[in-house]
Symmetry: D2
Subunit: 276 residues, 4 copies
């Protein structure tokens, strides 16, 4: 179990979202309300687009709430597009290569949920990864395998279609092994130009996922932030769990749905259907 | 806020107490029930008496629940006397020198609670530390200052008296600075031959503290552990928070009370009165 | 590049070998004389046989020379058989699952050297691992793959034969991929009852490997250690690099040679021939 | 012993200086040529001026050469003024609060060298720190005490004068305790607007210190970097140890000298005389 959030809009100091929010992602690392676990203290990660080539990633095995470097980064890095993730490990070790977001080239990838009985499926799924990518898998999470499968199926070209093929493949492999309820979770992807998210579970109710509702949502969340007040037209957030209970601010993403956020903050939803 | 536990008795594999207990200290690091904070994930420490000279200490900034090395140590070190501590930091950084137990020579020391407005008192309290000990203070917790004050006042000779002088001194310094409610907490001390604990608060209800009730308590806690079943006569535990709800197993230490556990598991209680 | 050492003999405090030796393994982490790199500061590990079930492992991403916990463990754990390893990473991340010794059941495994162009071979080699073991690979070193291949080929039953099959397999896979000079290194294995070591390279001069020469060697190394003086008959060391220049104390293991140390410190050498 | 570097000039990606230099500071962490120790692997730190309020600091206990996050930051943060420091600990623990640069408000501070027999002097020196600053000392290095003494004596107003008073005070306290050769080292300070450095030792030859020689020095160091080629007029570097052997590129700062770098890269040297 984990929690993640994505920002897409005007450049902001990352701390505005991570630390200066009423129930932001760092607070969720200690006190998640809607997650399968209340504590998400098994490392975290931050990926952002800004200076330099491609996105940056910062991965730490410390809990997000106590990492002094995260506070420093958040207070001194501005970015128009970033993803943050707090982890609750389920089996795999707490090590930097197991922290999200995962990255390749321009793409960042986060996941909340799990592949059921991954140990049974791991070998077959890794064989389905493009051999060119195989040796790049440095960690031991299910998510890193999902990410590399998605890259194999075109994540850099068409993220939603790639995830539909990937999830379809995982469900097929799970079937062969007699594993039920193969996929559970939400996924977030960006290339710096757009932001995509998926909410899906093979069988059960998928993990929660929300988007900020519309142009006024961010303004309501940060009434004292002048920058947000003046020019929030393009700003969008996607979060595992709302930062507040403010009515009208959050929109729940329906089950089996893919979301695309593009320039100007435009948001599209469409059904997510794993491809056989 | 923190949680701690102490074992005094026959040599046991440390994991029996840390991991194989229904609501042991590692479980309390994630889900404390009686603490001021539910999560105690800001590092931990283990101090034990066994092979080699003096007690060993293992300090880690990782949460106790995810530290692979702690599982290894606990599964492969046997000890007749050990203290474990899980930390919830309140202000000072998560760093190894801030982890309990603190040690000097044969003495181990743990604390749950705090010195109120420590930043105001820190300088005066450190000036009251024996100058020989001053440069040995490597961390920034209130506890390390309390420990060195107690060493200054004879912790190695008479722990309870030394703590009475130390707490009295802290309360006097706090008074001078207009700080109310100076001391809050429970303290644990051992030299490998005896185990001492104190429950005290200047003003409020002190943090919780319990001892295992009598010779049968450990047997009830570990019905499937053959060693405990056969020979638990000397075994005693002191804990911030009971490991179970079993009736009759735990005895609450009264407020303003000092406890001494000696050979044969004998337990004495006496009033704890800070010395002016 | 790395350095390792193994102790087999009477129970000793681990610090005697790690810290109280003139040019012990921890000193080699800072100043290796015979290694491909002078600094081996990318984590380390210690595996020992003693209390509890099976061997214990302690893995740390800190350099061996500065890890406070290693000093504590070494000063307070006694063991008759242990292996220590200091790492100089070549490509794979500095993370705990990449630290040696690797363990399964009763077996510990260390390696100094590398598989050439591992990224090219990784997928084929992992496919050759017993599918039951596949999901147990948590790190990204070449050594962990070698270890699991060796387990696949009977490391727990006949370590030298299993390594001959494993190295033969790696050389064959390398040939298929046009990779020259596939295997370089020394390997150490124990099950607590015996100690095995191999020195081998496909093409070049293999990494250095030495054994303590005979019954008097340990006595010469530790003239002030009473325990070693009185009863060193069974004691043997195997090291990447001698702890001292004392003449007669160290015996260089010839190239393409396997060494077995058994009860009573008896040492056998035989040719090591990879099996096609 | 340590190594440090400072950049003052046009905004650059930090990696240009840290990683893309022939013998940059990260290379010096593994292979210092002029330092008292060849390995500076006991943590490092980076402080920079850029987005957000005041300077940012990133502190890590990992060696600079293996910290994945440092590579990320360096590759994705641009700054016109930054200081980097690699540490070789001499006594005090490897922990984040012991990493340089130290910061207060707008000021960053680094040090290479040591206060002789600090343990003897620590108490008296800490008593000389402004009581308001006393409780802010979280680590256990001599440098943090020097920094807080310098703040006490006006580091934020007149850095060179404050350091002259501070060093004078330390030498006086050392005299009282019969400690010879009290101060050894080089110091670097910035407030984002200017950069100051001092090279001084009470008795012996002080640690090495160099500035980039003139407007063409940076161009010579980075012949393939277009940005440096076109507009390096203002750029200055101060380093413990030259990045290259290029003749004419580096100017050695004389002993007992203070350096000031201001807008436009103007460099002034003046004698440094500790104030009694």
């Amino acid at each position: 179990m984990c929690r993640w959030m994505a920002w897409f809009g005007q450049p902001v100091l990352i701390e505005e979202l991570l630390f200066n929010s009423p129930h932001g992602i760092v607070d969720q690392s200690l006190h998640s309300r809607m997650g399968a676990e209340t504590t998400n203290g098994d490392g975290f990660g931050l990926g952002w687009y800004g200076a330099g080539e491609g996105p940056a990633v910062y991965h730490s095995v410390a809990p997000a709430w106590s990492d002094a470097n995260l506070r420093e980064l958040a207070a001194h890095v501005e970015s128009p597009v970033f993803l943050a993730h707090v982890r609750a490990a389920i089996g795999s070790p707490v090590q930097q290569p197991n922290c999200h977001p995962f990255r390749r080239g321009n793409v960042l990838f986060v996941h909340n949920g799990f592949i059921n009985e991954m140990a049974k499926l791991r070998r077959d799924l890794m064989l389905a990864v493009d051999p060119e990518l195989f040796a790049e898998i440095h960690g031991s999470t299910d998510t890193e395998v999902v990410f590399n499968l998605a890259l194999t199926h075109g994540l850099e070209q068409d993220p939603i279609a790639a995830l539909e093929k990937t999830i379809g493949l995982i469900e097929a492999v799970a079937d062969e092994h007699g594993v039920q309820s193969a996929v559970q979770g939400t996924f977030g992807v960006s290339n710096g130009e757009s932001l995509w998210a998926v909410r899906y579970a093979t069988l059960d109710r998928p993990r929660s996922l929300f988007t900020s509702a519309d142009v006024t949502a961010i303004k309501h969340l940060y009434p004292e932030n002048e920058r947000f007040q003046s020019a929030a037209a393009d700003d969008r957030m996607i979060v595992s769990e709302p930062f507040s209970d403010l009515p009208g601010v959050w929109h729940e993403v329906p089950e089996s749905t893919a979301v695309t956020v593009g320039h100007g903050g435009a948001l599209e939803e469409r059904p997510f259907r794993p491809a056989a």
